[in-house]
Amino acid sequence: MQEMPKIIGAGLVVIGTGIGIGKIGAAALEGMARQPEQAGKLQTAMLIAAALVEGVAFAALFAVN
């Protein structure tokens, strides 16, 4: 039972990251559909933003662990 808050915290972190990366992916896909010629640049920007969100999420998961 002592582990319970940790597990709930980890779940919250994953929910937040999921929403964050999902929004980044959705926005990038929309942008690519509007301007297919910019797809390469958008993909790079998308990966950097996703990596930054992921970095914060992993830092939080380590704090939880």
């Binding site: 390469g40 640049k41 790079t44 990966l47 950097i48 990596a51 930054l52 992921e54 970095g55 914060v56 992993f58 830092a59 998961l61 380590f62």
Partner: protein, 379 residues
């Protein structure tokens, strides 16, 4: 085309199954040592499910940690002893007053025996070397970790071995590519596969992110990309060592990026950190500590990202296989290897993606350090 796809899937699935076989042999074999540890910690007898759970946890921990010997297989004998199949690696450690000690890791017998060297006694517990007495007494704390005095361990461990092998392989591959380009500009051999990747790093990572000064960073970016990629891929192979899932190694890689950024930075970069142009002066004072913290957060997020992604991938693969031993029925035996295979394919993608992201973010940081002053107004 179909033949090729079938061949590729067949090739990859051999990895998956050999991983599973390897696992099954070792999970049953760690039983002795694990149950021994458990009985020391908890007096009450464990239920069967809890025992399997702790065994699986111990095996996953063992896989993720660095080790002093290269175990290919561990099997349990009828009398409860363990047979380790593998080879020992050199152990080098420094113990303050006693000086340097060198030996092979076989002397420790995987933590079963006490080694006497230059008048001191040493033993191995959870792959860490501790000072002890002639009987090998270890004082344990509540979590089961020894509290004896540690020594400065400089051993050639599994991870170090794997780094040396990767380095040697990279020298061979890229040395031959370089010799080939001296003779003719038409790629041959491994250059045929790697030329597009190298051009991708130059044209899509270095040039857009760094700008006109990109050439002096190319050697570093290429080295770090292929080094991380090779280590990630080797970590996924059977008997491979999880090197990039070791925080010390990702720390060293991020430190290199940090140092190169600071030492090649121009005046403009430092001005933006200490005295942000285009802001009213009270804000400049507020921004300074934030920018200085940001200086260290950048490499820190690099090292955490690579480490966490790789160890998370390994934990998922191992946990899915471990679930077979937890459920112990036919459905689990069929479903989980399949699920493991799917996750495994995802891990191959992650291996490439993480090498790409690390290189990409390094290039972005180098670009920040090289930005020329091109606008007078606030930004």
């Amino acid at each position: 085309m179909l033949k090729k796809v079938v061949l590729v899937i067949g090739f990859l699935s051999t990895f998956s199954t050999s991983f599973a076989q390897h696992e099954s042999a070792v999970v049953s074999a760690t039983e002795t040592s694990v149950s021994k540890n458990v009985s020391e910690e908890v007096a009450a007898p464990l239920s069967e499910a809890e025992k399997i759970k702790s065994e699986n946890k111990a095996y996953i921990d063992h896989h993720l940690l660095d080790g002093h010997s290269f175990d290919i297989m561990v099997s349990k004998n009828a009398d409860g002893t363990e047979t380790h199949i593998g080879f020992p690696l050199p152990v080098i450690f420094y113990d303050g007053a006693n000086g340097f000690h060198t030996m092979m890791s076989s002397a420790f017998h995987h933590g079963d025996e006490v080694v006497e060297s230059k008048g001191g006694h040493y033993t191995l517990s959870h792959e860490k070397i501790y000072k002890t007495d002639a009987n090998g007494t270890l004082t344990m704390d509540e979590a089961g970790h020894a509290t004896n005095e540690k020594v400065l361990d400089l051993s050639l461990t599994k991870s170090v071995l794997m780094i040396l092998v990767t380095g040697l392989l990279m020298i061979l591959i890229f040395g031959s590519i370089a010799r080939n380009y001296k003779k003719s500009l038409v790629p041959s051999g491994s250059a045929k596969i790697l030329e597009p990747v190298i051009l991708f790093i130059r044209d899509d990572i270095a040039k857009p992110n760094i700008g006109p000064n990109y050439k002096k960073y190319m050697s570093y970016l290429l080295t770090i990309f292929f080094f991380i990629l090779f280590l990630n891929i080797f970590g996924l192979m059977p008997f491979g060592i999880n090197v990039t899932g070791n925080i010390a190694i990702t720390f060293a890689l991020a430190l290199l990026t940090f140092l190169i950024t600071q030492f090649t930075a121009n005046k403009n970069y430092w001005q933006h950190i200490f005295w942000m142009p285009g802001l009213p002066w009270p804000m400049k004072i507020v921004m300074m500590p934030i920018e200085i913290i940001g200086l260290f957060i950048k490499p820190f997020s690099l090292l955490i990202r690579l480490f966490a992604n790789m160890s998370a991938g390994h934990i998922i693969v191992m946990s899915l296989i471990a679930l077979i031993y937890y459920f112990q029925n036919v459905i689990a035996g069929v479903a989980f290897p399949f699920l493991t295979f799917v996750i495994y394919l995802l891990e191959v993608l992650v291996a490439f993606l993480q090498a790409y992201i690390f290189t990409m973010l390094s290039a972005v940081y180098f670009g920040m350090a090289n930005e020329e002053h091109h606008h007078e107004e606030a930004h």
